[in-house]
């Protein structure tokens, strides 16, 4: 009984079961690809957001410009600080005018007195921003301190929650896909139960008996995973080449934590992982299915 012959025989005989199994595995792997992509995109957004997080200190008008520059140079000597940018009242006005150039009435009413001078502080480690926030918050020469910590923390919190949910869903999909492979191969095995027993009694090794079924499991699983991979290749390349999310400009995705890879490499990696999982799932499912029938 060659693997191919046996597979074609079963496909012909059980068209509905075979196609349903492949479709179910395709759906599972499509969802899995979606989850995987979502996690990587979410991690990339988090990394991007973390880079945007800064403390911006707005000074009272009474506070002298030279004193602000003195604080700036002190901050620049601090080992925790990555970058300090000074925005004078004039600079702030210019930036604001640029932003509101379509509103001449608003532009007319703007003067340097309205906008305060500020320092934008970025740290090497995002966690250190808390320190600078506390440092300036209580100072009497400070008008206000803006710190988008809440947004970052909330994003990180929801991202963690979503990651956990996604991992649980992934695990469930794996169990479902495993069950589908197991059931489909078991139906085939059950139809060939007597044949398997006879083969064992006339001297067939376990490998000889189980190989066609394992090949079948792998074929089912890999056909499903291949098409899921293909679908996601098309989706991800469309996102990239249309620059839909601006990813063509950044060109990198953060896979895990701070580990980044080129976008196109991610597409290759996703397809490779999905197909590898398809192979492993097919092999594991069918091996489990045949196990009990080898004890003759």
């Amino acid at each position: 009984m060659t693997s191919l012959k046996s597979l074609i025989e079963f496909l012909k005989k059980e068209k509905v079961i075979s196609l349903s199994s492949i479709l179910a595995i395709f759906i599972s792997f499509t969802l899995l690809s979606f989850i995987f992509t979502f996690l990587v995109f979410s991690n990339t957004s988090l990394n991007f957001l973390q880079k945007q997080v800064q403390v911006r200190v707005f000074f009272k008008d009474s506070f002298d410009q030279d004193q602000i520059k003195q604080i700036k140079s002190e901050l620049e000597n601090d080992s925790k600080v990555l970058e300090v940018t000074y925005t004078s009242k004039e600079d702030a006005l210019r930036i604001f005018k640029d932003l509101s150039k379509n509103d001449p009435v608003l532009q007319e009413s703007l003067t340097t007195n309205i906008l305060p001078a500020s320092l934008e502080i970025k740290t090497k480690d995002v966690k250190d921003l808390d320190f600078f926030y506390e440092e300036f918050y209580s100072k009497d020469y400070v008008e206000s301190v803006k710190y988008l910590k809440d947004i970052k923390d909330k994003f990180q919190y929801y991202s963690t929650v979503v990651t956990i949910i996604c991992l649980i869903i992934t695990l469930l999909f794996f169990i479902v896909s495993f069950g589908i492979i197991l059931s489909t191969i078991r139906i085939n095995i059950f139809q060939k139960k007597d044949e398997i027993e006879i083969m064992k009694l006339v001297g067939a090794s376990d490998d000889f008996v189980q190989t066609p079924f394992i090949h079948q499991g792998i074929v089912y699983s890999m056909v499903g995973s291949f098409f899921a991979g293909l679908l996601f290749t098309i989706i991800l390349l469309t996102i990239y080449f249309t620059n839909f999310l601006g990813l063509k400009d950044t060109n990198y995705l953060y896979l895990v934590g701070n580990f980044k890879i080129p976008y196109l490499l991610f597409v290759v990696l996703l397809v490779a992982v999905i197909n590898l999982l398809g192979y492993l799932l097919g092999k594991l499912g069918s091996k489990t299915a045949i196990k009990n029938y080898l004890k003759v």
Partner: protein, 230 residues
């Protein structure tokens, strides 16, 4: 390892849920012998055959095939022992979804024979059992005697050292029985050891071979050139 006796039962006991089926079975079968295993239905003949290829394991005692203690062989390695034995099952056990050729080729496929060899050997074996003209027929199109001959062809195809036949004439007419026995005798003359379970006294009395008699799970007689009622 070459042993003079191909089959050896050493103080074998077998019980199923407290029911003693075999009790202290002790015998040896040498290479090239033709041995009948006789006894009434339920005497334990089929259990002895199942113990030979480890379809069953003894409750006590040891079974040896070609000097190898089967209790030392794990199930996943039993195929190496089973390839030494060609079994003709009482209920034929042919595969209905395969044609005559494919039913015989299975014995060669499992030992990894090349396709070209299979295409040479199978027609020859089918000629030997007189089924060459039915090569592509389905087993459902064969008579009882033809199915039994097909089972014999399958057992012979991989040239086993032992042929074990469990009531091979039990379900066929006397004419077909005679043909089967002639065939087994031919195979034995070629050097293959034959162990045949039967309760057909005509065959046993006619052949005058070694007879092992089982009664209520015990080996009650072992006679060379014996008859059914010895």
């Amino acid at each position: 390892m070459v042993s003079n006796n191909l089959i050896k039962f050493e103080n074998v006991f077998k019980s199923y849920q407290g029911d003693q089926v075999l009790e202290n079975i002790d015998f040896e079968v040498d290479r090239g012998e033709f041995v009948f295993l006789i006894g009434s239905s339920g005497a334990g003949k089929s259990t002895i055959i199942k113990l030979l290829n480890k379809q069953e394991t003894p409750s006590a005692g040891k079974v040896y095939i070609d000097g190898v203690d089967l209790s030392t062989i794990p199930f996943e390695e039993m195929h190496k022992i089973r390839r030494k034995i060609g079994i003709i099952f009482q209920d034929f056990r042919v595969i209905k979804s395969r044609n005559v050729f494919e039913n015989v080729s299975i014995s060669l496929e499992v030992v990894g024979a090349k396709e070209s060899l299979i295409h040479d050997v199978v027609p020859n074996i089918l000629s030997m059992v007189g089924l060459q003209h039915k090569i592509y027929k389905n087993p459902t199109e064969l008579s009882g005697g033809e199915i039994q001959r097909l089972a014999i062809a399958r057992a012979l195809a991989h040239e086993p050292e032992i042929i074990v036949a469990d009531e091979p004439t039990g379900m066929i007419d006397p004419k077909a029985s005679g043909e089967i026995m002639n065939l087994l005798q031919e195979i034995n003359k070629m050097g293959t050891t034959v162990l045949m379970a039967t309760h057909d006294y005509n065959i046993v009395n006619h052949m005058k071979k070694r007879v092992l008699k089982i009664s209520d799970g015990r080996l009650v007689s072992d006679k060379k050139g014996g008859t059914y009622h010895d």
